[in-house]
Each structure stands twice: as structure tokens, then as C-alpha cells.
């Protein structure tokens, strides 16, 4: 027991005395939260548009004002002819153009039938679709306002409600993703590198030729990173609550328990990589390419799994981060308890046990 204690203390000394490691360990979660929270976002905000208002009557002014008032659009300029639209798209200044016909107000009031043209830059198809949808809904809103007095027969009014995330904030999506990402990075890479470092330095030789059991070497490598990762989880949660206004709706205890399970998964992966590699560079490369990339691609954090071809969908099932991501989202955002996520937890636990057994079994008691 005393051996284990001093070994763990040594591991902490390695981490705390190395500025670079410290920076990666504690700087990364903060930086990622900040980057995802404020810089990178796939929400559509303030898209520049061009308005060609041929009517210039009260109705058209009202419509344009309404469009400008929404947070999705920002009117770059108002133009008078079609050529300017084309130039705007060519120069990349605008993402969408709205063309309002002559006699807009009159036709709207008297003929009950008027057309507004929406032209979007579909080189980014998702953005174009989103913009057209937003614009259409603004126009529909305006129409409803105008027709408030006159009842149109046989109307269906969709009453929408955005559950769990009524303000459609991106943070709800990325905080669980960043947690999975950071834990994957810290646990897998740091453990793998710290074990391989001992191999490179030759200290592993001395440790093997000692009464210290190899299983204890693994344990004393894993425990410090488990604790440090829990510190990371805490700091990410604090940042998301106080900086991004994203409260944890479910049980904090459950969230930490599930995080611990996922950290152990990652630690086992790190140990496995360290067994199979002999240099820090290789260990780092494998951790980054082999672990981080699948996490980003296949956890459902960046790209919806439902949109993938079936073989890839099946593949995502073996990515531990996918299950952790679902679990964290359920607890943090939906406020669900263990009753709703026991299946995901069980799968994650299964993967963990499998990896742990494999990495401990493959840990060599000799050099070759």
C-alpha cells in the first residue's frame, strides 16, 4: 500500500512539474469550451442579405423591417436591380437576396395573392435551406399579422415547442461533446504517453526488475489521471453553468459516476496503446488519429448518426464516446435519471470491462 502511495505521488510530481503537460491538462478544457461556446458555432446568426424592393410601399417597408428585426438576418444593402444581386453573390458579400415585386402592398391587400422571391447561395446547402426556412417563417408571420382581422377558412397553424432547449442554444449540444472529447484526449493520450515515457527512459526496466507487481504499475498510472480527469469534468461543468448559462438538470452524482466509468474506458484504451507502442510520438499519434478522430466523427457530436450509411451507423456502436455523449445529454439537458439510460450505461460498462481485461492481459511482464 505504501508502495502504491509513493508511486501515485511520483506520478503527480511528473504532471505538476511539467508545464506543458499542465497546460494541456487544464488549459484544454477551458480553451475548448471557449472556442465551441463563442467562436465555432453552427447556429445561423446575422447572415448578410440583400433586399431589392421594387414596391417601396408601406407593406414592403413593414416586411423588410420585420426581416431586419430578426436575429438571423442583417441587411447588407438595398438594391434596385437584378444585376446587383448577382454581383453580391459573386463577391460573396451576401448569402441571400429578397426580391419584392412592384405593387406589393396593393396586390397583398386586394388580390390575396402576391409573390416574394427568395434567392439563396446554395454552395453551402445546409445554410441555404436554413436561411430560406427562416425567411419564409418571417414572411408567414407578417402575413398572419396583416390578416389578423380577416379570417382565412381551413387554416392549420403549427404550434411548435422546442423541448429541453427552447432557445435552440448550441451549448446544449456541444458541452457534452466537449466533455467526451476532453476526457478522451486527456485520459487516452496522457496515460499512453506517461507509460511509454517510462519505457523510453528505461525506468520501466528497473520497475519490472523489482518486487513491484506490473498490475500495480498500471494502477498507479491510472489513478492520478482518473483524479485529474474528474477535476476536468468539474471545471467543464462550472464553465458551462456559469459562463454559458447551461444548468445541469439531472443528478450531479449520476453525472460524475457515468463520467468516472467513461474515464476508466479511456484509461484502459491508453494503457492498451502504451503496451503496443515504444515511442512517445507513436503513442501520441495513435491516440490522436485512432481515438480522437473517431470520437469527433462517430459520436454524434458533430455529425448526426442518423444521416450516416447503415454500415457506419453500426460502426458507431463500438465508439465509447457515442454512449457517453448520449448519457451526458440525457442527464444534463433532459434531466433524466438512471432508469432512462441504464441501457447505454450497460453498453459502456461492457466496453470498459472488455478493454480493461485486454489491456491488463496484454501488459508485458518482460521487455519483449
Amino acid at each position: 500500500m505504501k508502495q502504491l502511495r509513493i508511486f501515485i505521488r511520483k506520478e503527480f510530481a511528473h504532471v505538476l512539474r511539467d508545464r506543458k503537460t499542465l497546460l494541456i491538462l487544464f488549459g484544454m478544457p477551458v480553451v475548448q469550451i471557449l472556442i465551441f461556446g463563442f467562436a465555432l458555432t453552427n447556429e445561423v446568426k446575422n447572415s448578410k442579405i440583400l433586399v431589392v424592393d421594387h414596391a417601396r410601399d408601406i407593406a414592403s417597408q413593414q416586411l423588410v423591417a420585420q426581416i431586419e428585426a430578426s436575429r438571423y438576418f442583417e441587411i447588407e444593402k438595398t438594391a434596385w436591380n437584378q444585376q446587383q444581386i448577382e454581383r453580391g453573390f459573386h463577391e460573396g458579400q451576401i448569402k441571400m437576396a429578397i426580391v419584392i415585386p412592384v405593387n406589393f402592398g396593393q396586390e397583398l391587400m386586394h388580390q390575396n395573392d402576391v409573390q416574394v422571391q427568395l434567392i439563396a447561395d446554395a454552395s453551402d446547402p445546409n445554410l441555404a435551406t436554413t436561411l430560406i426556412n427562416y425567411a419564409s417563417s418571417v414572411i408567414q408571420d407578417y402575413q398572419l399579422q396583416v390578416n389578423e382581422t380577416t379570417k382565412i377558412p381551413y387554416r392549420i397553424i403549427p404550434e411548435t415547442r422546442m423541448l429541453y432547449n427552447p432557445q435552440l442554444k448550441g451549448a446544449h449540444n456541444f458541452v457534452p461533446g466537449v466533455m467526451a472529447l476532453v476526457l478522451m484526449l486527456v485520459c487516452v493520450m496522457m496515460t499512453a504517453v506517461s507509460i511509454v515515457k517510462e519505457k523510453e527512459a528505461g525506468t520501466m526496466e528497473i520497475l519490472l526488475v523489482s518486487p513491484f507487481k506490473p498490475i500495480l504499475v498500471i494502477l498507479s498510472k491510472a489513478i492520478p489521471y482518473l483524479l485529474l480527469s474528474l477535476v476536468n469534468v468539474t471545471s467543464i461543468l462550472l464553465l458551462s453553468v456559469f459562463l454559458l448559462d447551461l444548468p445541469v438538470h439531472g443528478s450531479i452524482v449520476l453525472l460524475f459516476a457515468e463520467s468516472t466509468l467513461f474515464i476508466i474506458t479511456c484509461l484502459s484504451l491508453g494503457i492498451f496503446i502504451s503496451v503496443k507502442t515504444d515511442s512517445q510520438q507513436t503513442a501520441m499519434l495513435i491516440s490522436l488519429m485512432g481515438m480522437l478522430l473517431p470520437t469527433i466523427l462517430f459520436s454524434g457530436f458533430m455529425f448526426p448518426i442518423e444521416n450516416m450509411p447503415v454500415p457506419l451507423q453500426i460502426l458507431t456502436n463500438i465508439i465509447p464516446a457515442k454512449w457517453y455523449y448520449i448519457i451526458v445529454k440525457s442527464i444534463m439537458i433532459k434531466g433524466l435519471g438512471i432508469a432512462s439510460i441504464w441501457k447505454e450505461t450497460l453498453i459502456l460498462a461492457g466496453i470498459t470491462v472488455f478493454l480493461l481485461v485486454i489491456s491488463i492481459k496484454s501488459f508485458k511482464i518482460r521487455l519483449a
Binding site: 527512459a201 525506468t203 526496466e205 513491484f212
Partner: protein
């Protein structure tokens, strides 16, 4: 020899204590190309002996060390360390031996005291318990004890590594090239420390590529390409040198070496420091004969003297035998 120790039915206590190391046809083959690093090596090290494996890089010294310290499995043959089988009883061996690998192998970001304390604890002991063993060495380090190991000089690092390998009072101490990359003064000090450890009845197996260190061992094994060329005391190896050896110097050394290399009276010749070492075929018996032969070949300021062969001369002789 190994069979005797392995098959004996006598209980341990009634038998004389087994030798510290018994290697029996140890063989190690690496990789897909089947490179033989150690080729059927057999030797025995008595208790309390300072035994040296002497040979250039690639002679197989490190592989032998790793097999004896249970880090590698032999591909042929077997060995006993402290009476324990290196394959079956690897755990017992790991409890009792001390090992200092070739390259500096302590934690550079821990201080001297932390390193020593760490290894003491890993080996289930404390610095205080065996302080007497390392005292002579540790006093030289003590005033730097809060300095990080990575910031020490080569000689100091070696002393610290030796302390760490000694702290649990090992029965057998394995030192793989402990003086490589260490300055001459520190090397000398290091060997003096080994002599003192021997007095504590610790068996030491040491390897070195420096031939001049061979005479400091009780017995040595000269190694080349995975095989042992000779095992004996340094004196006996020197005495067994069959020829009369001359050290020769002249004004133009490159020319002298060329003359010696092409002359049909010369048996062997090679550069050795500022002299050339040479042995001659039977009809040359006198130093004067050599001088006249060289004068005839156009050499000036010739100096010829008969000398004691060194271990290196013996090694070269064995290589060409």
C-alpha cells in the same frame, strides 16, 4: 553444471550455497532475420565475485543482462541467478537482485532524494535501513539532494543510479555499462566504489566496452559477436598471450604502420595509442633485428621495446585466432 543444481534432491540448507550466477548455453535470437545476439554462452559467477563482461558494442552483453534479470526470455539454454531459474522463478529473482540499465534510467524530473526514496519504497525498504551500503557514495550527492536528477553531471547520475540499485541490499548487482559516457575521474571513483561493495559480499556482474577496466575485475569474459572468447582472471588471460609483443614508434607513424603491414616477417601489427604493437615470426628474436629491418625500410628515430600485453592485445589476438 546447471543440471547439477537443478536436479539435486538435497534440501537447500544442507547444500553449499549455489553460485550467484550460473549461465548454461544461454542463447538469444532476435527478429525475423534470426540475428543471433547471444550464442550458447556459459559461465559461472561465484558469490562475492566481481565479474566483468568485456566486449565492444554488439557483443551481446546487454542481452545477457536482460536475460539474467528476467527481462528477456532466452531462446535456448537456461540460467540460475541466486539459485533461481530465470524463467520459472522470475519473481524471486526480481525480489533479490539489483539492476542498473545501460542508459541513465532514473526520473529526471524528480530530485535525488525523491528518486532514492521512490526506489527504496518500491523495493519494500527505506533509505535508513540500508544507509550503510550507500553511505560512501551518497555523501557525495547529499548536498545536492534537492536538485533534479536531470540536472546532474554524467558521473553524478551514475552514482545516483548505483545508490538506487543498491538501496535494497541486493544479493547480485547487475551493472550494464555503468561507466559509458562518464569522465575518466568519475570512472576511477566508480570502480573504487565497486571494490568496496565487493567487501560487503555483494556479487557484481558488470559489463564494459573499456578494455582498461577489465583488470579491475576478479574474473572477466571477453566477448565478441555473442560468443565468449575467453574466461579467466585478467592476469591469467595476459599470461596466456602466446607471443612476444613489441611496441614500436618511428617519426612517420603512417609509413611505419604500412611497412609493418606489408613486411613478411611481421605476424600481426596494429596502431595502439602513440605506438604500433606488433608480433613477429620466429626468426626475429632481438629488438636490434627489428630496428635494422625498419631502418632498411627507411624509417627514422625508431624506438622498439618489448612490452607486457594488455587485455586489449589479448582480445585482438583472440579475435584473429
Amino acid at each position: 553444471m546447471l543440471q547439477y543444481y537443478m536436479n539435486t534432491t538435497e534440501p537447500m540448507s544442507t547444500r553449499i550455497t549455489p553460485p550467484a550466477i550460473v549461465a548454461d548455453n544461454l542463447t538469444k535470437v532476435y527478429g525475423a532475420e534470426k540475428t543471433t545476439a547471444v550464442n550458447a554462452v556459459s559461465f559461472m559467477v561465484e558469490r562475492g565475485e566481481l565479474f566483468g563482461l568485456i566486449g565492444p558494442d554488439g557483443a551481446g552483453k546487454t542481452s545477457i543482462f536482460r536475460m539474467l534479470t528476467t527481462l528477456l526470455l532466452p531462446d535456448g539454454g537456461n540460467a540460475l541467478v541466486d539459485g533461481h531459474d530465470i524463467v520459472k522463478d522470475y519473481q524471486q529473482i526480481r525480489h533479490t537482485v539489483g539492476y542498473m540499465p545501460g542508459k541513465f534510467s532514473l526520473y529526471p524530473d524528480l530530485t535525488i532524494a525523491e528518486n532514492l526514496n521512490f526506489f527504496a519504497t518500491v523495493f519494500n525498504t527505506t533509505i535508513e535501513e540500508n544507509y550503510h551500503l550507500i553511505k560512501d557514495i551518497y555523501v557525495q550527492l547529499e548536498r545536492f539532494k534537492d536538485r533534479r536528477a536531470g540536472k546532474l553531471s554524467g558521473g553524478m547520475k551514475q552514482k545516483l543510479a548505483l545508490c538506487c540499485a543498491l538501496i535494497h541490499k541486493p544479493t547480485v548487482l547487475f551493472l550494464d555499462e555503468p561507466t559509458t559516457g562518464v569522465d575518466p575521474v568519475s570512472r576511477k571513483e566508480f570502480w573504487e566504489m565497486l571494490k568496496r561493495l565487493k567487501e560487503q559480499n555483494i556479487t557484481i556482474l558488470v559489463s564494459t566496452p573499456y578494455m582498461d577496466e577489465a583488470t579491475l575485475c576478479d574474473r572477466i569474459a571477453l566477448m565478441q559477436q555473442g560468443s565468449i572468447l575467453a574466461i579467466d582472471t585478467p592476469d591469467a588471460i595476459i599470461k596466456s598471450y602466446p607471443d612476444i609483443l613489441y611496441a614500436i614508434r618511428a617519426e612517420k607513424m603512417p609509413a611505419l604502420l604500412k611497412v609493418l603491414g606489408t613486411s613478411n616477417t611481421v605476424a600481426t601489427s596494429y596502431a595502439f595509442g602513440e605506438y604500433a604493437h606488433a608480433t613477429f615470426k620466429e626468426h626475429i628474436h632481438q629488438e636490434q633485428d627489428i630496428v635494422s629491418m625498419l631502418q632498411y625500410a627507411g624509417m627514422d628515430n625508431i624506438e622498439v621495446k618489448r612490452i607486457q600485453p594488455t587485455i586489449e592485445d589479448c582480445f585482438i589476438k583472440l579475435l584473429h585466432a
